[in-house]
C-alpha cells in the first residue's frame, strides 16, 4: 500500500534522507522509529506530497505522492507532528472546514470519535490544552475512514488513559484492514500496535524488524528490591548480569532469558520488582554499533 523506493532528499546543510526503501502492506501497521531529527517527518512529508524527492519515489496505493498528491490524500488520514490549527475558530468549526474541504457528508464517524475521546469540540482553539488539540487532530485524521493512516508522533500530549484509548482505536482500524504508519521516538509507544518496525537514523534506514523479534531481543533492566543488604550481596554474586546496584536494590539486565531469571530470583527474599525500559538510543545501540563497525555511511561520527 505504501511504497518508498530509493527516496532521497538532500537539504542544504548535508542533512536529509538517503536512499530509503521500505514497503507497508495493506492492513499492516508499520512503526517508524528514530531519534529526533533522524528524518522521520521528512519521510512523512514526502508521503503527504509536501516535499518533492531529489531522487526516488514515494507511492501510496500505486499513485505518486508528489505528482498525484491530491488524489493520494483522498485515501489518507494524516496527523501532523506539529499541532497548528487555524486562528479564531473552535474545534467543531475546524472539523467542519476539513470535512467540507473533503466533501464529507456524514458526521456519524466524527461524532462517535468525539464521544470516545470525550472533549468539548466547541472550545475555541486558542483555549485548548495540548492534549485536547491532539484529540481534535486525531478526529480530523480518522473521521473520513481513510484506507491509510499516517500518524506523526500521535500519542504525544495524551494522558495514559487516552493513550490506551488510542491504542484500542488503532487496533480496531487494523482489524478493518487499514494500513497504518506511525512514527515515534519511543519503542513503547508503538510496540503494542505495530507489526513491523523500521529504524531510521541520520536519514538512513538502518534496520527493519518484526516487532516480536525486537521485543525478544530488547534488553530490559529488572530492578529487584531485596529484604536486606546481605540478600542483595548474595544476588549480586549469583551470576546474573548485574547492571547497577544501590543499597538493597539490584538492577539486572535481561534479554530474553526470563525463565532463568525468575528461577534464580525464587531463592531470594524480594520486597519489590520494577521494570525499567530503555530509551531508544539504548534499545538500538545494537544497530548503531553494528552500523559503525560496518564502516557504512554513518561510520564517522
Amino acid at each position: 500500500m505504501i511504497q518508498v523506493t530509493g527516496l532521497e532528499k538532500r537539504f542544504g546543510n548535508g542533512r536529509g534522507i538517503f536512499d530509503l526503501n521500505f514497503q507497508v502492506k495493506q492492513g499492516e501497521v508499520y512503526g517508524y522509529l528514530g531519534p529526533n531529527g533522524a528524518g522521520k517527518s521528512t519521510t512523512i512529508r514526502h508521503l503527504m506530497g509536501f516535499l518533492k524527492p531529489s531522487r526516488g519515489h514515494a507511492r501510496i496505493g500505486g499513485l505518486d505522492c508528489w505528482r498525484d498528491a491530491a488524489e493520494v490524500q483522498k485515501k489518507v488520514g494524516y496527523l501532523p507532528g506539529e499541532i497548528a490549527f487555524l486562528d479564531g475558530i473552535n474545534g467543531a468549526e475546524f472539523l467542519d472546514l476539513l470535512a467540507g474541504m473533503r466533501g464529507l457528508k456524514s458526521k456519524a464517524r466524527r461524532e462517535e470519535l468525539i464521544e470516545r475521546f470525550q472533549f468539548d469540540s466547541k472550545t475555541p482553539i486558542r483555549k485548548m490544552s495540548k492534549g485536547m488539540k491532539q484529540k481534535v487532530g486525531l478526529v480530523a485524521a480518522f473521521m473520513h475512514d481513510p484506507a491509510v493512516l499516517i500518524l506523526d508522533e500521535p500519542t504525544s500530549g495524551l494522558d495514559p488513559l487516552m493513550q490506551k484509548l488510542f491504542v484500542e482505536l488503532l487496533l480496531e482500524e487494523k482489524e478493518k484492514g487499514t494500513t497504518i504508519l506511525i512514527s515515534s521516538h519511543m519503542f513503547q509507544e508503538i510496540e503494542r500496535t505495530a507489526d513491523r518496525v523500521g529504524i531510521i537514523k541520520d536519514g538512513v534506514l538502518i534496520a527493519e524488524e518484526n516487532v516480536h523479534d525486537l521485543q525478544a531481543r530488547q534488553k530490559r533492566i529488572i530492578e529487584v528490591t531485596l529484604a536486606s543488604a546481605a540478600e542483595a550481596d548474595r544476588l549480586a554474586q549469583s551470576g546474573l548480569a548485574v547492571a547497577d546496584r544501590h543499597g538493597n536494590r539490584v538492577g539486572i539486565a535481561v534479554q530474553g532469558e526470563y525463565q532463568h531469571l525468575f528461577q534464580t530470583l525464587g531463592g531470594y527474599a524480594i520486597t519489590g520488582v520494577d521494570v525499567r525500559t530503555l530509551d531508544l538510543e539504548e534499545l538500538f545501540m545494537h544497530y548503531y554499533d553494528r552500523n559503525d563497525h560496518m564502516g557504512g555511511k554513518e561510520g564517522v561520527r
Binding site: 503527504m48 518533492k52 494524516y78 506539529e82
Partner: protein, 269 residues
C-alpha cells in the same frame, strides 16, 4: 477554488475586513463633512497658493481645494486611502499563505485532498474579495457622503470619483499580488512580511521623492504608485484605460505566478 475553505476564511476574516471598511468610510465622511467649511474659506486656498510648487505637487494639492472631487482626490485618495490599503493588502496577503505555512496549519488544509493550486486560488480570492469590497464601500460611501454632507451648489464629478476608486483598487490588486507572491514564496512569515512591506514602502518613498525633487523625478518610473494619479483623474487630464488594463494584467500575472510557485515548491509542513 474550494467553497468550504473560502467560506471559512471569509468568516474569520470578516471582522478585520469590517474594521478596514468602516475605518475608510468613516474617515472619508469626515473629510467630506469638513469640505464646505474649507471651500468657503478663502484664506486656506491663498495659503496653498503661497506654498512652493514642488511641495504642492508632493501633497497633490496643486489644484487647490475648492473643487470637491479634487479635494477628495487629494485629501483622501492621495494619502489615507493609500496608507490603509497598503497595510491591508500586505498584511492580508501574508496571513493567507505564509502564516499558515510558518505555523504549520497549511498541512491540515493540504491533507484534505484539495489540491495545492485550489488552496492557493481560494486564498487569493479571499484577498481579492476583500479589496473589491473595500473599493466598493469607499465608492458607495463617498457618493452617499457627498449627498448627505455637501450643499448642492458644489459640483461633484461622480464619474471621475468612480474612476479614482477603480484605479485605487487595481493598484492594490497589484500590490496585493506581489505581496501574495512573497507569501507563497517564503517559509517564514516574518521574511515574507519584510519583503512585501519593504518593497511597498520603497515604491511609496520613490513616488514621494520623485514628486518632490525634479532631479530625482526618474524615480517615478520605477514605482507602481506612478500609475495611480487621483488628482489628475479628478481634473480629467489623464486617460485611465491603458493604465487600468496594464495594472489588471500585472495583477493577473502576479496571482497566476503565485499559484504556480505554491504548486511547485517544497513545503516544510
Amino acid at each position: 477554488m474550494n467553497l468550504a475553505l473560502y467560506r471559512s476564511m471569509m468568516k474569520t476574516h470578516a471582522r478585520t475586513l469590517f474594521g478596514y471598511v468602516s475605518g475608510i468610510v468613516l474617515y472619508q465622511w469626515l473629510v467630506i463633512w469638513i469640505f464646505p467649511t474649507i471651500a468657503d474659506n478663502p484664506n486656506i486656498n491663498e495659503l496653498i497658493n503661497s506654498m512652493p510648487e514642488g511641495m504642492r505637487k508632493a501633497f497633490g494639492i496643486e489644484g487647490g481645494l475648492n473643487e470637491l472631487t479634487d479635494y477628495l482626490a487629494n485629501e483622501f485618495y492621495g494619502l489615507l486611502f493609500v496608507l490603509i490599503l497598503m497595510i491591508y493588502s500586505v498584511m492580508t496577503a501574508i496571513q493567507l499563505v505564509a502564516r499558515l505555512i510558518d505555523r504549520g496549519s497549511m498541512s491540515y488544509l493540504l491533507a484534505t485532498s484539495v489540491s495545492r493550486s485550489q488552496v492557493a486560488v481560494t486564498q487569493a480570492l479571499v484577498l481579492i474579495s476583500g479589496l473589491l469590497l473595500i473599493a466598493l464601500s469607499s465608492t458607495v460611501g463617498g457618493i452617499a457622503g457627498v449627498e448627505w454632507f455637501v450643499p448642492e451648489r458644489h459640483t461633484f464629478e461622480t464619474a471621475a470619483f468612480v474612476q479614482i476608486n477603480l484605479m485605487g483598487m487595481l493598484l492594490f490588486l497589484v500590490i496585493g499580488g506581489y505581496s501574495f507572491l512573497f507569501s507563497c514564496l517564503f517559509n517564514d512569515e516574518k521574511r515574507a512580511l519584510a519583503a512585501a512591506a519593504g518593497l511597498t514602502v520603497l515604491f511609496y518613498a520613490a513616488d514621494l521623492v520623485g514628486k518632490l525633487s525634479s532631479d530625482l523625478d526618474w524615480l517615478q518610473n520605477v514605482t507602481v504608485f506612478t500609475l495611480y494619479r487621483p488628482a489628475e483623474i479628478a481634473q480629467g487630464t489623464v486617460e485611465i484605460l491603458p493604465t487600468a488594463i496594464g495594472l489588471a494584467i500585472a495583477a493577473v500575472v502576479l496571482f497566476v505566478g503565485s499559484v504556480t510557485v505554491f504548486q511547485k515548491r517544497d513545503l516544510p509542513l
